[in-house]
């Protein structure tokens, strides 16, 4: 690559401060800058949510500890969940998608640049609002799913919950804006030749995710407005003891959003996996059509499984059984993806760089989260294990061991495109191993804690046999994980200034974002290569065995 001889310091910094200096960031409608705004915001909140997690683990390290008061603990776990979901994982994916989707489909910008900017700022406002409650002396403390009637004024009289509701509504509005924009961009702005069957799988997954966002966040916002009405206007949608009110109605509305939400945080991860694994295996993805199709199946099924969060509520047996079946069914397309990624590696030439390490750990950890998920679909097991530490372990395996690890794979993979410099591999390896050890130490024992009867969301616990030791292991693990995160953030910072220059296509990858400069110019591309298969740059480099040459059954796609 031509850049190889250039000294790192001779390279221009990414054009962060063009226009009117830093102010340009406030008015920008460039999808790349908005993407960076999302990413930086979520990294900031990652720090906040991480500190909350450490406080939780400090309080729980020993039985009957008094580091935090119950009120403080309850506010902190509520904010930890809310922050990690709405202010970290979702915006990190949306930010990366904002940056990459137009590049991956060979577009100049997104369909609605101003809506895109508006979406980000409204989202950020929401994030600020939920924490603004601090100035009233109370933070939301009804849990991230704010079950009525606990979240009603009668039981949560302080304003923290009101701020939480308003903030969430704003984040919902912003996110819906982002989804509309992504969807329109993908549908309308693909490069000539890029049919749906030649679209990068990350784009496929973002398309499905955007659709899920449209249908899941809208009912959430409706429910939040109803709850706010209950609290401020004395309506009685969810107040159980007032005529017509139903506490269970809130749960239906919330989980009708809440389960698809899990896939809003998982499908983009699947998309990243489907980009990283092939490139580092030096092979095309195994079963492109099945990976894309199983994503569609997951998207549809995700709206038919919400009651599995409510098996202990006491709904009718047919209802429980039907949702049990649907929840088990969703394991099938998810399994298909797992098999496709691992088979993509089979007989490849694996480059064990940091992105692939994270991707491999993702597969194993996500399988653990997946099989415990299937256990929760078996209603009687849910009746024992839900609301215990087993479920805490389960969803951290899905969201941290899964989504976050995929995000890390993605960040190591695309950071060079975004900044023009490579992340430091040595720090990356340290980050990886500390993360794997810390993550599994923190969350694996929590399966056992749940099995031996420790409920979730308790600010302390009596010292039943084994509780102290297992909680201590979990706390130590959390600090190792925190060290990994610090290394990661440090790597982002030092590599930004001193990283090895990346060149346009440092990984020898095949999708369009690698066909332009790193970082890309404001208008994205000087010129686009022809798109005749899902791997246009592969075709360019290997015309004799190009994908479009129809040498393989799947390639005809």
């Amino acid at each position: 690559m031509s850049q190889e001889s250039v000294s790192p310091h001779a390279l221009p910094f990414p054009p962060l401060t063009r226009g009117w200096g830093w102010l340009a960031w406030l008015s920008t409608t460039d999808h790349k800058k908005i993407g960076i705004l999302y990413m930086v915001t979520s990294l900031f909140f990652f720090g906040v949510g991480g500190i909350e997690a450490l406080l939780i683990r400090i309080q729980l390290a020993t039985p009957e500890a008094k580091v935090l008061t119950p009120q403080e603990y309850n506010a902190i776990f509520t904010m930890h969940g809310t922050t990690m979901i709405f202010l970290v994982v979702m915006p990190l994916f949306i930010g990366i998608a904002n940056y990459l989707v137009p590049l991956m489909i060979g577009a100049r910008d997104v369909a609605f640049p101003r809506l895109n900017a508006l979406g980000f700022w409204v989202f950020l406002l929401g994030g600020i609002v939920i924490y603004l409650a601090l100035f009233t002396g109370s933070l939301a403390d009804a849990g991230w799913f704010s079950y009525a009637p606990l979240s009603e004024a009668a039981y949560s009289s302080r304003p923290g919950v009101d701020y939480w509701i308003v903030g969430l509504i704003e984040m919902g509005v912003g996110t819906i804006g982002a989804a509309v924009n992504l969807l329109a961009t993908i549908v309308r702005y693909r490069a000539p030749g890029m049919t749906y069957r030649r679209m990068p799988l990350f784009v496929w997954m973002m398309m499905i995710t955007s659709l899920i966002i449209l249908y899941a966040l809208t009912p959430l916002n409706a429910g939040l407005i109803m709850l706010l009405g209950d609290r401020l206007l004395h309506l009685h949608f969810f107040r159980a003891n007032v005529s017509g009110g139903s506490a269970i109605l809130w749960q239906h509305i919330f989980w009708f959003f809440g389960h698809p939400e899990v896939y809003i945080m998982a499908l983009p991860a699947f998309g990243m996996m489907s980009e990283v694994v092939p490139v580092f295996s030096r092979k095309p993805i195994f079963g492109y059509t099945f990976v894309a199709g199983s994503g569609v199946a997951i998207g549809l099924l995700s709206f038919a499984v919400w009651v599995h969060h409510m098996f202990a509520v006491g709904l009718s047996t047919p209802m429980n059984a039907a949702f049990s079946a649907a929840s088990m069914l969703i394991a099938v397309p998810t399994g298909v993806k797992i098999f496709n990624w691992s088979t993509t590696m089979f007989r490849g030439k694996l480059r064990l760089d940091t992105p692939l390490l994270f991707a491999a750990a993702f597969i194993i950890q996500f399988v653990i989260g997946g099989i415990t998920g299937t256990m929760f679909a078996a209603v009687p097991l849910d009746w024992q294990l839900t609301d215990s530490y087993f479920v805490v372990a389960h969803f951290h395996y899905v969201l941290f061991g899964g989504s976050m690890f995929a995000l890390w794979a993605g960040v190591y993979y695309w950071y060079p495109k975004i900044t023009g410099r490579m992340l430091n591999e040595r720090l990356g390896k340290w980050h990886f191993w500390l993360a794997v050890i810390g993550f599994n130490a923190t969350f694996f024992v929590q399966h056992i804690l749940g099995l031996v009867g420790m409920p979730r969301r308790v600010y302390t616990y009596p010292n039943l046999p084994g509780y102290e030791a297992m909680n201590m292991i979990s706390t130590v693990g959390a600090f190792i994980l925190a060290a990994a995160v610090v290394l990661f953030l440090w790597n982002l910072v030092v590599s930004f200034r001193r990283g090895k220059p990346a060149g346009d296509n440092p990984w020898d990858a095949w999708t369009l974002e690698w066909a332009t400069n790193s970082p890309p110019p404001e208008h994205n591309f000087e010129k686009l290569p022809p798109v005749r298969s899902a791997r246009p740059l592969f075709d360019l480099a290997h015309p004799e065995i190009a994908d479009y040459l129809d040498t393989h059954s799947e390639a005809k796609a």
Binding site: Q71, K283, P284, L350, P380, G453, I545, H552
Partner: protein, 319 residues
């Protein structure tokens, strides 16, 4: 403290037919899961080791997929899941109330409060708190409701968990094979003191249970000495009796805001499991409830030392 929590409360040591049925299902899914996990992890690790790029250059064969393989790994999991679903439906029926399981059952009403449990025995005019006495070998049919927010009744060794939802009564069954104390807890986040909403189920032989029930149906003993008489006076005279009932004290609470205290002396713990029920602990609890269970709805009534002594003597039926 340790005496109170020296046993496990484990899903894996079931002590009732219902918990055992769920335990079986757990182990079946566990072993299937293990096979899948081992298979996938071994495959991934094998790939990482075996197909590592050793720098010899060139491209590996560019295979794009294989429909037969795809169909296989769609259908095989589907079959496994169908089996699991059948087992699920069977187990659901086996561990839920039905004419079969509740034919000879003992009915107990459970009312969850922020942050304690009320147990009402309809057949015996008996009301207790936080500690549920049951006869061994007999199905207990619980009807759960809540006085405020959603709670959840969970005693892992005896059966499933079930939410206590205001305005939506639920029923569930538990049973204990052997006498003993089984630990449980509120499992649905219910506010400040969710952590201290513990449950103790005391399973007794049918005879011992019957004797217990008969004793519980009795009113509180009349004061045996002057101190206890003062204690009773305080209980009725201060606001205690507006929140608590003591049968035989001469006052009845208008509503069960706090636990029934008629046979408080019979309980192992105070304040839903925070401390052992000893006279010193009780005194401390009455003197400053917040120091023991921060956030609890039991008020600090700023009692004097003599008042505390008299109340403890009366409540614990101590000479």
């Amino acid at each position: 403290m340790d005496r109170l929590y020296s046993t496990v409360a484990s899903v894996l040591s079931p002590a009732s037919p219902y918990a055992r049925d769920i335990g079986h299902l757990f182990w079946i899914t566990f072993w299937i899961s293990m096979v899948i996990l081992l298979f996938v992890s071994a495959f991934v690790i094998f790939n990482l080791v075996r197909f590592r790029d050793r720098g010899e250059g060139g491209l590996p064969p560019q295979t794009h997929g294989n429909t037969v393989v795809e169909v296989t790994w769609t259908v095989v999991p589907l079959v496994i899941l169908i089996v699991l679903f059948v087992l699920t439906v069977q187990t659901m029926a086996a561990v839920s109330p039905s004419t079969k399981t509740t034919a000879n059952a003992l009915n107990v009403d459970v009312v969850a409060h922020q942050w304690w449990w009320e147990f009402r025995y309809p057949d015996g005019d008996v009301v207790t708190a936080n500690e549920l006495h049951i006869p061994v070998g007999r199905t207990i049919h619980l009807t759960l409701t809540s006085a405020d927010v959603i709670h959840d009744f969970w005693v892992p060794e005896l059966g499933r968990k079930m939410d206590a939802v205001p305005g939506h009564p639920n029923t569930m069954i538990i049973q204990a094979d052997r006498p003993g104390t089984y630990l449980g807890t509120c499992a649905e986040y219910c506010g400040t003191d969710h952590a201290w909403m513990r449950i103790r189920v005391v399973a007794q032989t049918p005879d011992a249970y019957q004797a217990w029930l008969t004793a519980q149906a009795q009113p509180h003993a009349q004061p045996a000495n002057a101190k206890q008489a003062i204690g009773r006076g305080l209980f009725v005279g201060l606001t205690c009796s507006s929140c608590h009932t003591i049968k035989g004290s001469g006052a009845t609470a208008s509503k069960d805001v706090g636990p029934d205290l008629t046979h408080l002396a019979d309980r192992d713990t105070l304040a839903a499991g925070v401390i052992a029920n000893t006279p010193e602990n009780l005194r401390q609890w009455l003197a400053d409830p917040n120091s023991i269970k921060p956030g609890s709805y039991m008020p600090d009534l700023h009692l004097s030392s003599q008042q505390l002594d008299a109340l403890v003597a009366y409540l614990e039926e101590q000479p």
